[in-house]
Symmetry: C2
Subunit: 280 residues, 2 copies
């Protein structure tokens, strides 16, 4: 199988490594808008050749779109415009509603599979690509009923080979859930980093006290603006909803602390503890 | 050396394991208010005998206080009341101002060393005790000028043997810094868990999308109320200050998302990214 990957950063690059590791790709073509990333990707073996989308699409059996989410809808249309009836196009983006809407009336909609592997790190670019990236992570597929059976089967088989369980969801549900369990974590982490960095201006030794807990909650604050600005703005209404609820919960905790409400605070913490049920 | 540890939970229990591992204690006496924890601690080898504070203190060379922070000031006074001029009392609590004030005029103040090893996990109780716990973690000592030289030297040597670098700070500075880089992380994590659990009532499959990022920011939400209610209430004014600033930062980010301010958002994220400088 010849695979074209557009965007050889953290996600696209890690997929390239996984395809090679499992022997799923005979050749990997890369599309990269950044010349530095293109060089780096070749050097790291993430692609065999760097091509333009126009050059590469006709050659590839599978076209994978792994660029920032704001570029995906147009890129999906351009890729679909250039394929024939046996090729498959898949994206790996972390929001789905706009993308699925944009391609919904495309004559070749059936050749597209919308996928979101729930994997990532706080790093970006080709050098962030990691071996074994998707193994054990859920992959959400959206609007599978709109994909041709063979295209869907090809993508499902790919993720099965990578050891990533597949589940289906509609795009609206996906984007709402993603706001709750991924996007909000990034916003709180950015805000936490800004809070502490602000204070550090006066208090230089503040980080001498940073332990594993701080490290863990602030880790995502290292994530790239080029990835996250598009996600937060394109999933705006869901993100704003979650953010409002999160600020509300913080204000409730703040009021309990203000009033020395030990019982209320203990009760809230015990309710928060039930997250163990889901994340043991 | 005979060591008494009051509180054989996560911190006290882990210290017991570390003392044994490094051959620093000939015998460990444990004080435990919970009968279940006492049994568990004996079974896990965290203590050789369970005693009362009154029984144990006269026997021990070093008395370590590792109970919840609201119990520490009185316990410190009671321990100091029962020692002679060669014994040493140390606490391992994560706030210091009230404790240092309470013992400040005690006739045996010099025998006390106020210590805070910057280590912990989200688990609690004797079964949470871990080998190698303090190695590589900073330990803050407060008001070292108020401790006798030999008592201070004994505690410093203990942490040196455990591989934990020691630094000094005044109690006010310590509690402020701890609010910024530890206590706030817990509050945001509790609030995040509550936000998502609230939503889960309607949306049962929300956690299918939870990846490593969510797991990392929400980890601390598993922490025990019995540990954290006293910390948040005893460090109230610092925690409220940080919480106000954190909510303010979240509101700024929210407003940028509302207004589609991509540039402002990118700038804020890039500033948050500078946390890399401190936590590579």
């Amino acid at each position: 199988m010849k695979v074209l990957i557009a965007g050889l950063g953290l996600i696209g690059g890690s997929l390239a490594l996984a395809l090679r590791e499992r022997g799923l790709a005979d050749e990997i073509l890369g599309v990269e808008s950044s010349p530095e990333h293109a060089c780096e990707a070749l050097r790291l073996g993430l692609a065999d050749r760097i091509v333009t989308l126009e050059e590469g699409v006709p050659e590839a059996d599978l076209i994978v779109l792994a660029t920032p989410v704001d570029t995906l809808p147009l890129l999906a249309v351009k890729a679909l415009n250039r394929i024939d009836g046996r090729q498959v196009v898949m994206d790996l983006g972390s929001i789905k509603e706009e993308l699925c809407e944009v391609i919904s009336m495309h004559a070749r909609r059936g050749r597209f599979v919308a996928a979101h592997p729930l994997w990532g790190t706080e790093y970006s670019g080709p050098q962030a690509a990691r071996r074994g990236a998707f193994t054990g992570c859920n992959v959400v597929l959206c609007e599978t009923e709109r994909s041709d059976a063979d295209a869907l089967a090809a993508v499902e088989s790919l993720f099965r080979t990578l050891g990533a369980p597949v589940l289906c969801m509609n795009p609206e549900e996906h984007d709402l859930h993603a706001a709750y369990v991924s996007h909000i974590s990034h916003v709180t982490s950015f805000a936490l980093a800004l809070t502490v960095l602000e204070k550090e201006r006066e208090q230089r030794h503040i980080f001498d006290l940073a332990g594993g807990g701080f490290r863990s909650t602030v880790r995502l604050a290292k994530s790239a603006a080029s990835t996250w600005v598009p996600i937060l703005l394109r999933n705006k209404y869901n993100v704003l909803d979650v953010l409002r609820e999160h600020i509300h919960q913080l204000q409730i905790l703040r009021r309990m602390i203000e009033r020395d409400d030990a019982e209320g605070l203990a009760d809230a913490i015990r309710r928060a503890n039930t997250i163990r049920r889901i994340l043991p």
